[in-house]
Structures are given as C-alpha cells and as structure tokens.
Symmetry: C2
Subunit: 408 residues, 2 copies
DNA sequence: AGCATTTACTTCAGTGCTCGAAAAAAGGAA
DNA sequence: TTCCTTTTTTCGAGCACTGAAGTAAATGCT
C-alpha cells in the first residue's frame, strides 16, 4: 500500500539514497556522493551534515591524491559505532554468533558445536539469548548499542516468522525464537532462510551475477534452494521448500516423513542409502558424518559403480527439481553449494539431461551452473547485507528526530 | 533502483494515490478522497483541481442524499474521454478486440473466429493491427485518443515481451507483436500471459480473495497457471509455464514436443488419449472440439470406467504439479477455471491426495480450491485493471506538464 | 422570509525540502 | 604572495504539504 508523501518522505528517501550509495560503493566525498545519487551538492551538504550530526556518518581524513589540484575532498564514511548487530547462524551441528559494527566489520564472534539433544533440554530461544548474552558480556560498550539481530534457519517458517513449524534441526520446531530474542534485547529480530541467503550472498560474491535472477541450491545433509532477483531488495517472500518438492510419487522415505522428496534422493543420507542398496523406505540415518559423505564421493570418483549410480539418482532428483522450478521461476543462473558441490561432476550429467527435457530450457537455453564449494561465506554475507540494509533503512527515517535530538 | 525525490516526486506520488483511490472505490467527493488517501483537504483542492484542469478527472453533479444537512458534496469521477485503450484477447480459435474508455467502460468490441491456418498466411502482428484498425474506423474520435494496447497471449514470452518464442497457437511463435502494434498506433503495448491475468482477475472478481496470494489454473485445450499476490501491483514477473512442468520423466508426449508435461495428461487431448487407450507416445490430436470434451466429462459422470480413469490421471498430474508448485510459491488459495473446471469433481480426489503428500500442505494445510467455470471474464477484467492502472500511472506523472500546458 | 446550523471546499500563512548560482574554503603552483 | 582549481557551503527561489481560518451552499427552525 503506497502512502502519502510529503517533505519528510522526500528527506527519508534521499537519506536512504545516500546511505545506500555509501554501502554499495564505499567511502566517498560529498561531491562524489552527489553525482552517485543524483542529488545536488547543496542537498548533500544538508543531508550529509545532518547524518554526521546524528552520528550515523563521520568525516574521514582529507584524502589528498598525489598531484591533486584544488581543495582536497574529504571522505564520508559510516560511523562504525553508530550501531551494532548480531548475526546468528543456526545450523544442525553448530551455532555461530557474530557481532558486527555498522561499517560491516566483525567485532567479535563465538562458535559452539551443538548436539542433537541440546534443544530438547534448552529451548532454542533461550539458548540463543544466552549466546548473544555471552557476546554482550565480552563487548559491553558495543552491545549497549545493539540495533538488530538476524538468524539464519532451515525449515518452514511460521506465518509471523517467529519460529519454525518444521526443521531438520531436532527439537526447534514450534519454539519461539524471534520474539524471545527480541524481548530479551529489545531490538528487531529477523529469521532468514538459508536458501534465500545463499542466493543473495552468491550475488554479492560474484559481481557478474549481480544483475541476474538466480537460484542457489545447497546439497549436503539437506537440500535447500533460494531465489534472488536483482530488484526486490530486502525481505524476499516466504522462501522455498525445494528439498521437499516431490520427485517421485510415493518414492523414497524422506526425513520429513513424506515420500519421494528430492532430499530423500539427493541429500547425503539419500545417497548413502542408495549406495549401499538399503531399501528406500528404510528410515534415513539421523545424521551422516561429513567424512563418510566425502568417502562416498571419493569412492564414486574411483569408479565404484553402485556409488556412482547413487549419485546419478541424486543428480536426477536435483535435475528434475530444477526443471520443474524453471517453469515457475526461470533463474538465469544456478549456483550449487554445500558439501555436495564436491560431487557436482558426478551429478552434472543427470542434472543437465533433466534440464534439457524442459520446454523452458529448450527455448531459453539451460542456465549456466556455477559451483561454489563453501556455503558459510555466502550465507554470512547475505545476512550481513540484509542486516546493514535494515539499519540503513532505519537511519534513513530518523530525519525528523534530528531536529529534536539536536536540541537536547 | 530508487531515484532521487523532490517536490515533483511528491506530487506524482500523491496524484497516483488519488487516482488509485478513485479506481478502487469509485466516484467520491474531495473530502472522501482526502480521508481515503490520507491527504489534507487543502491538498485535495490543489491536486483535484489540477487533475480536473488537465481533463483527467471531472466533476459530477452535486449528489444530494435524502435528508443531508450541509453543503452537498460534489463527486469527482474519471473523465471517460481522457484516454482509450484497446484490449486484445488472442486465443487459439478467436480474437476478441475491445475498446475501453478511461472510466473502464466498454466502447466497442469485435470478435472474430480464427482458423489454424490464419497466421500462416498473415503475420500475427499485421492481423492484430488490422483488427485494431477496424475499431479505429468505427470509432474515429475515441481512437484518436488511444493511449495503450494490451494483448493476452499463451506461450513463452521472449525477453523483451515483444512476441512469443513458443505458443500453442499455430504460427505465432517468432513474430513481432508488441513492436508491430506499437509502431502502427504509436502507443505502449504490453503482452500479458493468460495465466497471470486469470489470477489477477480472480482476485478482482472474488473480494474475499483480494488479500491472499493465489494461484489460478486453467484446464482446457492447454493447461496454464498464474500467480498473483496482493502487494506487487502491475507487471508481475515473466509468468509461468505450469502446463509444461514435468510430471513424469519420459512420460506422455506433449504438444510442445517434450515428454511427460502436466498438459500431456491434463489437457483435453491428454484425457481423450487416455480415455480411448491410445498409447501416450502417439502425437496428440491437433485440436479437440469443445463438444467432444464435454462428452468425455459426461461419460465419466455416467460411470464409464476408462474415462473416469483418464480424469484421475489428469487430476494426479495437476495435483502433483500443484504440490511441486507449493514448495516454491505457497499460494493461500487456488482457483480452477476453463472447460476442465466442469470436470473438477472427477479430478478433485487425486488433486487433493497429491497435495496432501507435500510437506508444505501437511504443515500449513492444503489451500482451499475454488471453481470458476468461465475463464474469459477474469482474463478480461485482469487486463482491464492492468491497462487502467498503467494509464493512471502515466497521468500521475503529468503533473509538471500541467503548468506548461495551462500556459498555452 | 430570515437566520442558524451543518457540511464541503478554498484560501492563506508557515514549514521543509530541493535546486542553481554565487560565495567561501583549502590547498598547490607560479 | 597571488592565482588557480576543486570542494563545500550559503543564499534565495520555487514547490508541495499542512492546519487554521474563511467562504460556499444547502437544510431546518422560528
């Protein structure tokens, strides 16, 4: 719903423009900012001065390039102390908690290995509160200026994005996470799905992808997928459940309890099951050690037929999933990440064959597929960008308060 | 990409707000408009006066409700002559061409039956130009103020939405349509996919659906699907190819030439083929007379086992397609339209069974399914709304010209 | 008929924002 | 020192919005 615009709206918009330009292109002088945003120099004096007075931005040392002629430009940067945010990666076997400053720098970080029983004993919300509290104790000054928390999760979000209705992480479904953290630290908390973050992060990591709609899939102990398009900035929609898209009706038993999900063929446990000829209706292993999965890949690479076949089945499941996805979303590029990225060459043939069977690919061509082995970095970068964008957005709207706060 | 805001931007935004309120809630007094948009009465005097001076809006007769006390309110309406638009429905067997005025009223309409060979002889673009020209000859005054053309199509749009890369309508693939019409009449032309229009139209036709994300499927000589969410207004993304989502790898031969598409099971020709035990690799009938399809439905309703089975296969294909769709889009409501809507009860069991097999539906519940037999009305309404919204958008931006044009 | 009342709309003064042009600032070069 | 160049700031004008006060147009009451 569009809303009525007035002078304050204009200021908010243009402050946002300035912050956004700074976020995307790094420190700049006022004059550069003016041309980057399209605002006049006069407006930049006003807006820049206001943002600096509010402690959101700060002036750097005058930068004098060798042999410069006129008055030296003075760079404007984010004031790193203007705000801090916590970024929590909640995974099956670890919780990583990072404290970042407003300039995007890492201030502190904790990482804890997590067992399957943990959340049976401690409510996930309480546990994450404790993790953030630990950061707070070590960084009292910074944490007093905490302005947001982002949590990456796997599974199906509830309607309010407060917690998960279902998750591959044991015992987290049904627990309040966002509200719990939010009341504990009195800051906005967002839950973000790994798949979408992966896609956004890949866009940031590969500049050549930054203007394409893209899909990122994660293959490992689960199968996840996210979409990211250049325009719509934050927020995405509710995310996807690609791993639990049906591949074969009444097919292999999945960890989610349904039959025939892509994940039941393409996640580590699915491949393991198929490689050793275990009937696909047998309940999947509760977890597969990373080393065991790597060993499977190694076996396939050295020619073990039954293991190769298992990866072919995995590729086929992924390929038909992508082919079906293409009829609805049509990404122009696909990124494959996670432990399974190491097995991509084993699956590539089946994936591409399945894609070729789709009308969309026949017409538009099959989208190129890039392999990015590590998944943690794009996820973190995606969250970092989202969190900072949200802070920028908040600061953009603080214009009218400026006049008030400068009084006191 | 956000752009710099100034006073002109504010005016455009607020003009848009006024036009949008009028479009959605019908004629209103200035005072009502002020409360509906959130603008002040003073602003409405200014904006309303400007819009009236530009001939975009007009004042109606003072409306005096029985027993009213004060000064009577004067209603503000669209000036129906402010602009005209052509709406073209391009179907397999007919072309309907409607001329509508800015108030949304129908000014004239032609409808022509079309044969399969037509576009082999006449380029589709030329043919449509002739159709619009015919309207122009009959309505010279109106057509001199033509401001836009919208065309509903089926198939895969090319990147520029100028024509179709593939279509179930013979001989239209590859032809320039939008550019051809645009240069002939010097107005903007948009090609819109039937599926998306169906979803948008259904939202307009059923007020109770207006705030839900929904999916509309068309079942008939083809299978189509469109998504529509409450927020993002015009433009949608590139549309979907649901009918050609794979249902069974290497399955039944589809008209598109691929194997195993949903359409190959659920469109009329797929059901016909299955009902009569024709092998599913046999090339599909090039067209199925509507009466023959109705007869099939009748046979199934009277208990013919093999026909019932064919509809079950169709339902299963649609159901698994929807189940797969749910993992990516998650509509809260599904609308079924087209000739196949008459057969919905024959397919319902299989559709719902397939949906129940999906994780998303197990968790969020299966979305309710509404049957809307007619498909023409929602398609037309969807296009009408889109065209008028585009005109509104254009008029909203004419603010600065107002001062100029009032001079001459 | 005349005046009060009610509701719709307009006018006016005030404020905030952007912009272009001119002025000031801050160094290097001559 | 004085000139030149480039960056910033200052200043006046123009626009749009708002709240408050004023005007318009009709009904109802005396």
């Amino acid at each position: 719903m569009r809303t009525v615009a007035g002078a304050d709206f204009v200021r908010r918009q243009n402050r946002g423009l300035v912050l956004s330009a700074l976020r995307r292109h790094g420190p700049m002088s006022r004059t550069q900012l003016a041309t980057a945003t399209g605002l006049s120099n006069a407006s930049l004096t006003a807006i820049g001065g206001e943002l600096i007075a509010q402690g959101i931005l700060q002036e750097g040392a005058p930068r004098t390039p060798p042999g410069a002629r006129g008055r030296p430009a003075v760079e404007v940067t984010f004031n790193r102390e203007a705000a801090y945010a916590a970024i929590i990666e909640l995974d099956v076997n670890r919780v990583r908690c990072s404290l970042v400053n407003y300039a995007g720098g890492l201030a502190d970080r904790t990482e804890v290995a997590v067992t399957a029983e943990l959340f049976a004993e401690t409510a996930p919300g309480d546990y994450l509160v404790a993790r953030v509290r630990q950061l707070a104790d070590r960084n009292p000054g910074e944490m007093s200026n905490l302005r947001g928390i982002a949590v990456s999760v796997q599974g199906v979000l509830d309607r309010k994005a407060d917690g998960l209705l279902w998750s591959p992480i044991p015992h987290v479904a049904g627990a309040s996470i966002a509200a719990r953290l939010s009341e504990a630290f009195d800051v906005p908390v967002t839950l973000q799905k790994r798949g979408g973050l992966l896609a956004e992060g890949a866009r940031l990591l590969y500049p050549e992808l930054s203007n394409l709609p893209l899909a990122a899939i994660f293959v490992g102990s689960t199968v996840g997928m996210g979409l990211s398009a250049p325009d719509r900035s934050i927020g995405q929609e509710s995310g996807t459940e690609f791993g639990h898209m049906n591949h074969v009706p009444s097919g292999a038993l999945c960890r989610c309890g349904q039959k025939g999900c892509i994940e039941a063929y393409a996640a580590d446990y699915g491949v393991l099951r198929a490689a050793y000829g275990v009937p696909d209706q047998v309940a999947p292993a509760s977890s597969v050690p990373p080393a065991a999965y790597q060993e499977l890949i190694h076996l396939a690479q050295t020619g073990r037929r039954n293991v190769i076949h298992a990866f072919h089945l995995a590729g086929r499941a992924l390929g038909f999933g992508l082919s079906r996805l293409m009829t609805v979303a049509a990404p122009a590029h696909i990124v494959v990440t996670g432990p399974g990225a190491n097995a991509f060459e084993l699956m590539r043939g089946e994936i591409e064959a399945a894609l070729r069977e789709s009308l969309v690919c026949r017409i538009h061509g099959t989208p190129p597929i890039t392999v990015h082995h590590d998944e943690r970095e794009p996820i973190f970068q995606g969250m970092l960008r989202n969190v900072l964008d949200a802070l920028d957005d908040g600061f953009a709207g603080t214009a009218s308060e400026a006049r008030l706060s400068s009084v006191r």
